[in-house]
């Protein structure tokens, strides 16, 4: 498999079929691990990095995870290929932009990925559609146990798994969900959500685009505390308490909007669809913003004949690197805007 093989379809975990996927698009659990007897990546020279890379690559590729697994040499990939992997959340931007021997191992259906020599020697992650954090944790725990049979992780009885950044120490676990919260945003309550997250030691960031910008009402919420609780406790609190609370607020906000301002809501949804069906040039930001409204319209049954899978697909496939990979070469922003508009038009006008 080459990165370019991915540019024409969506990842399975992004297809909107999972439990509660109208609001919780997907779940992810990641573990950070380092090998004992090696410096952490920031102090690891190139030849030792190569050693770590080869060792972990061989071990992980030999595991039987019920999926074909592919290795990608991130160091020798083109910028476009790297960007594509970042857009699909298979590797981090940091991993794409780092230097030196490093790689990624990706399962055929993209439900599992491993980053080798990112900030830590090994970061493994499992993705699932909808709210399925427990299932993600069970799966990644199995994989971690399999790897651990063959390597010695840097571990300290008091601090647990040792990580390059001391804020990940302990379990090294990062539990996160992708959320679609258009009604909270529309009703001006997103600030509350940010503050509540901060108060409970959770991190929020926008899902698409870079930095803290949350274009299109999509957010990624994840835990920050990795020490002092078991993995199971962290997963249970997150998936049994925190996420359901937020989902509840979003549902309330949607109901309130439907009741108080149905015309305003329908107007936003229909205008969004109108623009998406007729625009000839559309930036990725505008597309995200409008697709978000259409997505809510479908979820609230204000629109018919459009599937969530189609909308999710458009989110993923109209990102810059996806468009360029599909075309087979780099495109300037104007060409991308035209191509994006054309893909959206053709997909949404079929319906």
């Amino acid at each position: 498999m080459k990165p370019s093989d991915l540019s024409n379809h969506i990842s399975q975990w992004f297809d909107g079929s999972g439990p509660g996927a109208d609001i919780v698009i997907s779940s992810r659990v990641r573990l950070a691990r380092n090998l004992g007897g090696y410096e952490f990546c920031p102090c690891l020279n190139a030849s030792r990095k190569r050693e770590v890379l080869n060792k972990l690559k061989e071990i992980i590729l030999s595991l039987d995870l019920g999926q074909d697994m592919f290795f990608i040499d991130v160091d020798n990939s083109s910028t476009l290929e790297q960007d594509l992997l970042v857009e699909r959340h298979l590797i981090s931007r940091q991993h794409a932009q780092a230097k030196g021997p490093r790689g990624a191992i990706i399962a055929q259906n993209e439900s599992f990925t491993a980053m080798i020599n990112e900030e830590d020697h090994l970061r493994i992650q499992v993705f699932k559609t909808g709210l399925q954090l427990k299932e993600c944790w069970e799966r990644i725990n199995q994989v971690d146990n399999l790897i651990e049979k063959q390597v010695e992780y840097a571990f300290d009885p008091e601090y647990g798994y040792l990580t390059a950044c001391p804020t990940n120490v302990g379990t090294g676990i990062r539990v996160s969900v992708m959320l679609h919260l258009p009604a909270l945003k529309m009703t001006g309550q997103i600030e509350k959500f940010y503050n509540a997250a901060k108060d409970t030691n959770l991190a929020v960031r926008g899902l698409f685009g870079e930095g803290t910008d949350a274009v299109g009402d999509f957010f990624q919420l994840s835990n920050q505390v990795t020490l002092g609780y078991s993995e199971q406790q962290i997963v249970d609190e997150f998936s049994g308490f925190i996420v359901p609370k937020i989902v509840e607020y979003e549902i309330l906000a949607r109901e309130k909007l439907l009741k108080a301002k149905p015309d305003m809501l329908d107007d936003k949804i229909q205008r969004a669809l109108g623009v998406l069906r007729s625009a000839r040039l559309i930036s990725s930001q505008e597309a995200l913003f409008l697709l978000s409204h259409v997505r809510m319209g479908v979820n609230l049954k204000r629109l018919e004949g459009i599937s969530i899978a189609t909308i999710n697909e458009l989110f993923m496939l109209t990102q810059p690197a996806h468009l360029q990979m599909r075309q087979g070469h780099e495109l300037d922003p104007d060409r991308r805007d035209a191509m994006r508009a054309q893909i959206i038009r053709s997909r949404l006008c079929q319906n």
Partner: protein, 169 residues
């Protein structure tokens, strides 16, 4: 959403201000926020923690007989990987597992503060009993010496060190 100030870039900073019972919202980009002197705090103010940590360290040192505080803070260097406390405070990343011992005290307070008071792991443990950290550290030190010996073309020493490493692994 476009930045209200420059109307060019995307607003990435969203502020709610309440003054005189009036609530107002502001949406601006990072550049404009900087120009207007608005400071936005990180979710985890790691920078702040780190700089306060360094200054605590410095105060502790100046009360003693040592030279100036900051220089003393620099003196805390891991012999295994060469990471210093000062470098760590810039990069936020440690150099090797041994650093958790070398920077024990300052790290402990940093970890407690970023882990809402916790300082003890209670999650899963590797089923394979890890070899003593000490052994790992010794191998790392030997490897460093080996590289130096090879660089100095002292192949006799290099061979000895290589044998020592093999014994330990």
């Amino acid at each position: 959403m476009l930045c209200q100030a420059c109307k060019e870039r995307t607003a990435t900073i969203h502020l709610t201000e309440i003054s005189g019972g009036q609530r107002s919202e502001m949406h601006i980009c990072e550049q404009c926020a900087q120009e207007q002197g608005i400071v936005v705090k990180n979710q985890i103010p790691l920078n702040e923690l780190l700089s306060s940590l360094l200054s605590v360290q410095a105060e502790g040192q100046t009360s003693g007989a040592g030279p100036t505080g900051m220089e003393s803070a620099d003196d805390l260097v891991c012999p295994t990987c060469g990471m210093s406390l000062k470098k760590f405070s810039k990069t936020r990343l440690l150099g090797c597992p041994h650093d958790y011992e070398v920077f024990d005290e300052p790290l402990r307070s940093l970890i407690e503060r970023s882990q809402s008071g916790h300082s003890r792991h209670c999650g899963k443990t590797p089923s394979r009993a890890p070899k003593a950290m000490k052994n790992h550290m010794e191998v790392m030190n030997l490897r460093r010496q080996l590289e130096e010996a090879v660089k100095a073309e002292d192949y006799e020493t290099a061979a000895k060190i290589r044998d020592q490493i093999q014994q330990k692994q």
